[in-house]
Symmetry: C2
Subunit: 346 residues, 2 copies
C-alpha cells in the first residue's frame, strides 16, 4: 500500500489493452459495445476489465465526448437558506431518483453568499461541469436566469417565470392553491377578516400565492391585510405580531408557507390566542410535520418531489435532444386539518 495520500493507482484503458493484447481503441470500442468488434474479443475484454477493476476516467471521458453525465441543481441562495427548507429536500428526492435511474450524477451548486448571484450559475454553465441545469427558487428579477436560458445550455426552471416565456419549466398551481385555501376559510368557515403573510415579493411563488389569496377573498378583498415575510419561521412570528397589533379582531391568518405559519403559531400561543377557536391559521407547502403540530396545520400540499422528478426528466430529455416546450404545471391539493377550524380527522 502506497504511503501517499490519495495514491490510488488507476487502471486505464491501456492497462486493459495490454492485458488483452489488443489496442486501446479495441478496448474502448468493446466496452462501448461497438458492432465492429468481434464477440469473442468483446467477451474477453469485458471480463478482463472487470477483473482488473477498470473504471473509465470521468474527466477524460467528458473531455473527449463533450458530455459530463452530470447535471447541476443550481440554487441561488446560500447553503443554509437552501437546505434549511424542507421544500428542497423533497425536490432533491425527486431529482436524485430520476438521475439515479438514468445513470446521471448530481452536482449541487449553491451561492457562497447573497451578493454574488452570478457565482452559482457561472461555475456550472461555463466550465461544462454539468450538461444541463435545474434552477430552483430564483428571484423573478434575477437576470442571470435569463442569461442562462438564453445561453442555449439545457436548463429547466423550477417555478413559474412569466418574464421568460420560452423557458422550459415545471411549476405548480400556486394561484389555485392559495385561492382554494382562502376560499375554504371564507366559505366553509365563514371568516371575513383574513390576513396574509406573504413571502418575499421578488419570488414568483409569493406573487402567485398573494394573487390567489386576493382571488379567494372574493368581493371582501377590500379588507385584505398583507404583511411580507421571508419564508422563515421568525419572519412569520414578526409578521403575526404586526398583524395582531394592527387588526385586533383578526379572524384568520394565511401564511404563504408552513414555516411562517409555525412562527405565527408560536406568537399566537404566547399571546394565549387559541387556534382555531380564537383565530384560524393556515399554511402552504405541507412538508414533514404540519400534521404534527397542535392543532394540525391546514395547508396546501405541494408535490415537490414530483416537481423534482419532472424537472429532472425533462432536463435529461432536453440534453438528449428530445424537444421540451414551455411550462408544465402540477396541481396542488388542499389539505384540511384542524387549524382552520375543521374537526380533527382520526
Amino acid at each position: 500500500m502506497s504511503g501517499r495520500v490519495g495514491g490510488v493507482k488507476a487502471v486505464t484503458l491501456a492497462d486493459v489493452a495490454a492485458a488483452a493484447g489488443v489496442s486501446v481503441s479495441a478496448v474502448s470500442m468493446a466496452l462501448a459495445d461497438h458492432p465492429r468488434i468481434g464477440a469473442r474479443t468483446k467477451e474477453q475484454i469485458h471480463s478482463l476489465a472487470e477483473q482488473l477493476g477498470y473504471v473509465s476516467n470521468s474527466a477524460a471521458r467528458s473531455l473527449r465526448s463533450q458530455r459530463s453525465g452530470t447535471i447541476a441543481l443550481i440554487v441561488p441562495n446560500t447553503g443554509q437558506h437552501v437546505f434549511g427548507h424542507p421544500y428542497f429536500m423533497q425536490l432533491l428526492v425527486g431529482v436524485s431518483e430520476v438521475l439515479n435511474a438514468r445513470g446521471a450524477s448530481l452536482l449541487v451548486s449553491t451561492n457562497p453568499d447573497e451578493r454574488h448571484g452570478l457565482v452559482a450559475y457561472e461555475r456550472v454553465l461555463r466550465s461544462k461541469a454539468g450538461d444541463g441545469a435545474i434552477v430552483a427558487s430564483a428571484a423573478v428579477d434575477d437576470v442571470n436566469v435569463l442569461r442562462l436560458v438564453d445561453s442555449g445550455l439545457p436548463v429547466v426552471l423550477v417555478g413559474h417565470y412569466p418574464a421568460i416565456a420560452d423557458a422550459v419549466s415545471v411549476a405548480v398551481t400556486d394561484v389555485d392553491g392559495a385561492r382554494a385555501v382562502t376560499e375554504h376559510l371564507r366559505v366553509v368557515h365563514g371568516l371575513k377578516d383574513i390576513a396574509h403573510i406573504s413571502g418575499p415579493m421578488n419570488h414568483q411563488t409569493s406573487i402567485d400565492r398573494l394573487a390567489g389569496f386576493k382571488a379567494g377573498l372574493g368581493r371582501v378583498a377590500g379588507k385584505a391585510l398583507v404583511v411580507a415575510g421571508d419564508f422563515g419561521e421568525e419572519s412569520g412570528r414578526q409578521a403575526t405580531k404586526e398583524l395582531l397589533d394592527r387588526r385586533p379582531g383578526l379572524q384568520a391568518i394565511f401564511a404563504a408557507n408552513d414555516e411562517m405559519a409555525y412562527g405565527a403559531l408560536l406568537e399566537l400561543r404566547s399571546r394565549d390566542l387559541r387556534v382555531p377557536t380564537d383565530i384560524a391559521l393556515v399554511g402552504y407547502d405541507d412538508f414533514g410535520v404540519s400534521r404534527l403540530t397542535t392543532p394540525a396545520l391546514t395547508t396546501v400540499s405541494v408535490p415537490a418531489s414530483d416537481v423534482g422528478r419532472r424537472a429532472a426528466t425533462r432536463l435529461l430529455d432536453l440534453i438528449e435532444g428530445i424537444a421540451q416546450h414551455g411550462q408544465e404545471t402540477l396541481p396542488v391539493t388542499l389539505t384540511v386539518r384542524e387549524s382552520c377550524g375543521c374537526p380533527p380527522s382520526t
Copy 2:
C-alpha cells in the same frame, strides 16, 4: 444564436491566446499567476479573458491536473431515504458551506436501490469524479466502507466506526447523549419503567444510543425494554403499539430519533394517553420541529451542521496533504422541553 440544443460555443485558452497574441501556455500561466509571466502581460491576459468570458473547462483541467475540485457526499441509501431525514439537510448545510468557502464543488451520490451498496461508492471512487468523499450513514457491516478507506482515497466518515480504527471520522457523543436523556427521566422525574425504541441495529448510532440508554438506567437496567425501529415515523408508531401492549404501565419512552418519537406521539394520542402526564416521551436529534409539537419534545440536540462542517474541512485538508488522524467527536446537548414532564419554558 445557434439553433442547436446546448450549442454554446465555449471560449478556450487558445481563443484568449490568439486575442492576446501570445502562446496558450502563457495564458494558462498568467491566469495561474505564475511568477515567470510579466506583470503587464498578466494584466492584459486577465482583462482579455474576462472580456471574452473565458472559463476553464473542468474536464480538461481535471484530466491534466488529476484534481477535480469536487468532493462527493456518499450516502449508501436511496434518495428518498436520504433526503427524507432532516439530519442530512443539516449535514448538507455544513458541508456546502465549507465547500463554497474553499472553492470546491459538491457531488451528491446516493444509491439507486437498496441492493447495490456498491454503486454509490464505486461511481465516485474509481472514475476520479471526486477528489475525496464524505461517507454518511453507512451500516456498520458495510464492507464497502472498509474497502473505500483502504483504497487510499481521501475519505472522511461521518459517525463512529469502531471496526475501522484508523479511519478519519467525525462523530458525536451518542452514548453520552442517550445516557443523559435517560438519566434525566430516571433521576429528575423519578421514572423507573422506561422503554427504548432503538434504530436499526446495524447502524452504530443505534448501538451507541442503546448503550447510552442502558447506562442511563443505572441499576434498574434489568427492567430495560427495547424494541427496534428503522428511524422512520411509522416504525416508531408500530414500536409504541408493541411496547404498550407488552407493558401497560409504562412510564416513559425514549425513541432513538425524533421521527420515531413523532410516531410514538401519534400512537399515544390515539390511545388517549397524555404526554407527559400519563407517559413521558423523549427523542433524539432535535431537527426542525421538535419544539413545535405539543407537548414540545424533550430531545438531544445533535450538531449535524457542525459535523458537516468538520467533515468537509478535514476532507479538504486531507486532500491538500494535511494529515488527519482518527476520530473527532463533537458533543451533543440535552434539550429539555415539556414531553419529559418538565414545565414549559416561555
